[in-house]
């Protein structure tokens, strides 16, 4: 049993690299996912992932399989969509969800158009699906840097972020930090999705961001505990997913996200905070 768990990582460098990359993403992206969930913006993460895809694709078409070009492309596309939709929300009557949807759809269509006119080269979907088994030194350094940066910024912004989650109107009325907090937070979302893109691909990256946060919701009530449980779920999913991929010959990215999905389902059913099983039990009466 121990052998089955430890040996793959001990024997193969690519397994260790994959695990390290996934841990870095778990540490960076999952706390961001917790705040996304608390701010009822989980689907924003998904929209941003779609917004990044064309940027990364264009970066790839311009410079080939260059880590830098794809990162910068993804960042530019993601930030453009985040800032434009935020701007539109703040100066017009359109709500954030609608403006975000509008801009990410434009970005996506533009990306598909540019990619198609270049013709079919190396299968772009492969590139966009990421390769957690092929993380080289540069990619690992990038993932770890983004995770560190993301944690530092979250720590600095912790109070205004919590306030934004609890009562955005109040924060807006007492402080000009509201807008800064919001856009910095969106930047973090984009950064972490770009990091996740290199390991898991654009679509799977949202999974490691949102699923552990949603699972943690059934185990913890305070924000600190939520973050800790979510990161633990993400790391566990990564390790189990990689081992499943190793032992049962499954593609790694989907395996990791599916394990996170299973953990979410289990939490949903048996979680101590508002899980289905707990709710079904008779409530204790207030007697003493």
């Amino acid at each position: 049993m121990i052998d089955a768990i430890v040996l793959p990582f001990a024997e193969f460098g690519f397994m260790r690299r994959a695990l390290l990359g996934c841990i870095a993403i778990s540490l960076g992206a999952t706390p961001v996912g917790v705040f996304l969930m608390l701010r009822r913006m989980s689907l924003t993460g998904d929209a941003m992932a779609h917004a990044i895809l064309p940027g990364a694709a264009i970066g790839y078409l311009v410079a080939g399989l260059s880590l830098g070009a794809m990162t910068v492309g993804g960042l530019i596309a993601g930030m453009a969509v985040a800032l434009l939709s935020g701007f539109v929300t703040r100066v017009t009557v359109l709500r954030e969800d609608a403006s975000l949807a509008a801009f990410y759809l434009i970005s996506l269509a533009l990306g598909v158009l540019i990619v198609s006119t270049r013709g079919s080269n190396v299968d772009l979907m492969h590139v966009l699906f990421g390769t957690v088994l092929a993380l080289d030194d540069a990619a690992l350094i990038l993932l770890c840097s983004i995770a560190s940066l993301s944690l530092l910024i979250l720590a600095a912004l912790f109070r205004p972020l919590v306030l934004e989650c609890a009562d955005p109107q109040f924060l807006r009325s007492v402080s000009r930090l509201s807008a800064i907090t919001h856009f910095t937070f969106l930047t973090l979302v984009v950064l972490n999705l770009v990091a996740g893109f290199h390991a898991l691909g654009t679509l799977m990256a949202v999974g490691i961001m949102i699923l552990p946060a949603a699972a943690a919701r059934f185990w913890a009530a305070s924000i600190g505990a939520l973050v800790i449980v979510a990161v633990a779920v993400a790391v566990l999913s990564s390790a189990v997913g990689l081992l499943l991929s190793y032992h049962y010959s499954l593609p790694s990215g989907p395996a990791i996200i599916l394990v996170a999905g299973i953990l979410y389902m289990v939490s949903l059913l048996f979680g101590t905070v508002g899980g289905v099983a707990v709710r079904a039990l008779p409530r204790p009466h207030f007697e003493s």
Partner: protein, 354 residues
Amino acid sequence: MRSSSLKIATAAAALLFTSTLYAQSGSPTPVVATFSIIGDMVSRIGGDHVDVTTLVGPNGDTHVYQPTPKDAKSVSEAGVLVVNGLEFEGWLERLIAASDFDGVRVVATRGIDPIAFEDGDEHHDDDHDSDEHHEDEHHEENEHAEHDEHDDDHGDEHGDEHDDEHKDDHGDEHDHHHGAFDPHTWQSLTNAIVYVDNITAALAQSDPANAATFYQNRAKYVDEIKSLDAEIRGLISGLPSDRRTVVTSHDAFQYFGRDYGVTFLAPQGLSTDSEASAKDVAKLIKQMRSEGISAVFLENITDSRLLEQIANETGAKIGGTLYPGALSDADGPAPTYLDMMRHNATTLTNALSQ
């Protein structure tokens, strides 16, 4: 299984009409080739008498190609459509259905002895097929009706008789995505001669006025293919027998391996469409360590990151870039089919003999 005689008759009538049309007008026959290698062969044989459109261009990956409306237009206007067959072009059936193609459709691999997909389903007993169709090679122009019938049969059965005839014993256990046979048949120069014969016959049938020229071009081309074959055999035979195993991105060189006695291993399966799992990668690394495999080759059409990592981990060196299923640009190392085969062979031998 066979299509109705009415259908055949209709197709034959349409064919006769189109072929006379091109012959009379004297303009080059519009030919559509599905990917760059076949396109190159068609232009070698057809010369000025054909106007070749290649759907999947240089450095393109045919496994995962998505046809465009322009492709449908090219196909609908084509007098001859040359496809590889063996389910290499999975997107082709829909494209043909979407365009009103009514010309001659030729399956270039017809008559080739294909390698069965994965763990040795022995189906090399297909003499029924090769014998029947090799007669086509040196046919005269006045056999239209018979050929139309052939073409029509093939068209209805996805251009793959093997598939059809073996369906009962093994058809279901295979992933239909890949087909039952390795489609990368052009990686053998012996097979290339079959390609050339099939293409020549189709061109001659479609444009009988220039058939003599096509057969002349064919003869010259086949000579070149044969001399390259001898050249490559010479190159490979110089390698020591314990240095003949190499690793590539996807499993596309089985025919090359069979012809010249080189073993190819790959983390990705037969199609670039599949994703490698940790198990596949680990297995490959173990094998490379135990057999002391020293060279890894990248491909022009696949994502190279995984292979670079594998090379990194095993200490194998990257021997260069091979061209499995698409030519390079005109200024690249493999602008034509023969250049491609020569480039692959020299890249392999250079890396392995060091």
